[in-house]
């Protein structure tokens, strides 16, 4: 069920990523201030935005789970957060590379944008041990949903606080006082954003398909193993 439409979505994602990379390197003009190093922006910023939106989406799914009690929403929430954490790793690495090239340092601790993203990332990194420390599946799903809602609400608050803070060195992507990006750069950025968002959706769908298939396999194993209850399992042990 989750795998429905995965193939066209994957093809669209590959096409979008190839198109966006082509635009980045062959269409978007060089930045007058930063030069070639600014090309990292087309990857780093969409990844950061999509990761943060993914965390919020995970929180929204968690609300649905808490309201309905349907475990499917918990799976959506888990996979959304999982994928956003992976994207978060990419954000931190690409950001550090850009910082090294631009500022001469891999990390600057007194920059609110960097530190706030790191705090959000580390907060969500605790989601896994928190979730898997609880054995009872029902309680695990419920507590994980409460975590996802709380943390999801923190993300936009954190973003707004950073936006209002005085930035020291981190550039503001969409300038508010000095105008935004030029047309060609904005177009390239939007295509990159769509490509990264498509990648997120595709990977979420792929992960959900894998989880669903794995769950169906477990159900099948239990159903087939039922006649052998009371003795040793007649099937090979479950592959972990």
């Amino acid at each position: 069920m989750y795998g429905k439409g995965l193939r066209p979505l994957s093809i669209a994602t590959v096409v979008a990523i190839l198109t966006s990379f082509s635009l980045v390197f062959f269409y978007a003009p060089l930045d007058a201030d930063q030069g070639f190093i600014q090309k990292i922006f087309y990857l780093h910023v969409p990844l950061a935005i999509v990761a943060l939106i993914g965390f919020i989406v995970g929180g929204v799914f968690a609300i649905f789970h808490l309201r309905s009690g349907n475990r499917r929403w918990d799976a959506y929430s888990y996979v959304s957060i999982h994928m956003s954490v992976i994207f978060g790793v990419a954000v931190l690495i690409t950001g550090a590379i850009w910082a090294k090239a631009s500022w001469g340092h891999w990390w600057v601790w007194d920059e609110p944008t960097l530190v706030s993203f790191l705090i959000v990332f580390l907060m969500y990194a605790t989601y896994y041990p928190f979730r898997y420390a609880i054995e009872d599946p029902e309680r695990q799903a419920r507590y994980a949903s409460v975590f996802a809602v709380t943390a999801g609400a923190f993300v936009p608050l954190n973003f707004m606080a950073v936006r209002m803070a005085q930035s020291l060195v981190h550039p503001r992507t969409f300038g508010t006082a000095n105008g935004g990006l030029p047309g060609e750069m904005m177009f390239t950025f939007l295509v990159c954003f769509v490509a990264v968002a498509l990648l997120w959706v595709t990977l979420v769908k792929l992960e959900l398909t894998a989880k669903s298939t794995s769950g169906q396999l477990k159900r099948l194993r239990r159903a087939l193993d039922a006649p052998a209850q009371g003795g040793a399992s007649r099937i090979a042990p479950e592959v972990s």
Partner: protein
Amino acid sequence: MIGLLLAATPALPLDEAGKYVAGAYIVFLVLIVIYVAIMASKLQRMEKELRDLASFAEQGRAGTPGREAEDVPIDVEAQPAAVSDRNLTPSEAAAGRPDHARGSADE
């Protein structure tokens, strides 16, 4: 096409900044490749488990009590398809079912 594209665009300044930009994009691609590799290994495990379950299901059908009496060749023509399917092992069913019966089932 790519040649024309490259000819029409200015040369990329792959100097000091170039290695950082290349590094950032390579990191992104490597992360995707690692993720796909992990998913591929999961898929392999699921495939193996499915194979185990399939062989277990076949063994279960073959080892059901009372099977000896049913191992007598059955005239599939003389019985309804559903009954003959229930009495045959999968391999027997595949080998013994007449072509016209298989064709109607496929339809």
